[in-house]
Symmetry: C2
Subunit: 206 residues, 2 copies
């Protein structure tokens, strides 16, 4: 028996392009026989370590303006609702911690619901109330999850996730990492990452 | 008779992703019945106006490292030779001026040859000798073209091109602009730009 290939889906809840990526990654991976490992992380510490204080879409106004239009086009093409939130980038700490509390097979549903609320409805997902409502709507024990999300174990797990992201060379979201450590950055690199996970190399020397 | 749709292909010779874009834009556009208008320009003045001194791939080392690997993968996939040049970004002033001297139907051949030399062979194309050799290899009157490229008319035309790029909101290369002014940034947005040029809107309100 051959092992099922896996792909790590590194996603930051503040990231716009991670919304269409999160909505399609599992479907696209399943069609290729690839399993998705959901990896929430925070970009803030990575930006800070690079000497940047915020998102490149805030630093570069022209790039930011293009990004909002581009994301609207991509969502329209993918049949996704899109509404630009009043706040960008949002504080994604609580959502990332809560996702880390969940087992792998429940992370996708939570992440999709969170991104859909943030960028499909244009809501602020940084607060406890928003995350609590998300969890209740998905039939989860919100009180227990939020208590655990605030504990030392999950804080340490999120720090460790950030260190692993940095070790992979990740600098943006979404990022895809294959089992042999190949890094692909951006929603538009999902297909190439799945190709790589399936052993396609396009004649490139590894 | 309906008018042939056109797309403006804005390209900076220092840009890596503009290499695979230049090599396929005409073929991809022809397959959709779209005409390509070649628009050489310089990113330097746009970066400077934004307060940046060089390429984002130099400013952000992690992004730069990923870009080189990603471009190598894309070239392998597209069947293009790829060799990382020792110098990046290269001074693209002369190549841009020379392309501006050529009529539209001769620009593609020159641009493809220049990009192939720079990123397929890893050569430095900033100097007069390299551009002269490119022109001679393409059977052009190198002396006459280089003389004209150094004149006031072409200097003014390149400045004007930069102003038009800025007016389109262009901040990177390659960029595609449709007849109704829709801006698409990046080699990976060529198909979407051609869709738009052909009237596809994905249900998006214009």
């Amino acid at each position: 028996m051959t092992q099922t290939p896996t792909i790590e889906f590194w996603h930051e809840f503040a990231s716009t392009y991670s919304y269409p990526a999160a909505m399609r990654v599992e479907r696209a991976a399943r069609a290729r026989g690839v399993e998705v490992l959901w990896r929430p992380f925070l970009l803030g510490p990575i930006f800070k370590a690079q000497g940047f204080s915020t998102s490149p879409f805030v630093v570069n106004e022209l790039k930011g303006a293009n990004m909002w239009r581009d994301v609207a086009r991509i969502c329209a093409r993918d049949g996704l609702r899109f509404k630009r939130p009043a706040i960008f980038p949002q504080n994604s700490l609580l959502a990332a911690r809560v996702e880390l509390c969940l087992p792998q097979d429940q992370r996708g549903a939570f992440a999709r619901a969170a991104y859909a609320l943030e960028y499909g409805e244009g809501a602020d997902i940084s607060g406890r109330e928003a995350v609590e409502a998300l969890l209740r709507r998905n039939g989860r024990d919100a009180d227990a999850l939020l208590a655990r999300a605030g504990g030392e174990e999950i804080k340490a797990a999120l720090r460790e996730a950030g260190e692993r992201a940095a070790a992979h060379g990740i600098f943006g979201s979404p990022s895809f990492v294959t089992q042999d450590g190949e890094l692909f950055w951006g929603n538009d690199r999902l297909d190439a990452a799945l190709d790589w996970a399936c052993g396609v190399r396009w004649g490139l020397e590894a």
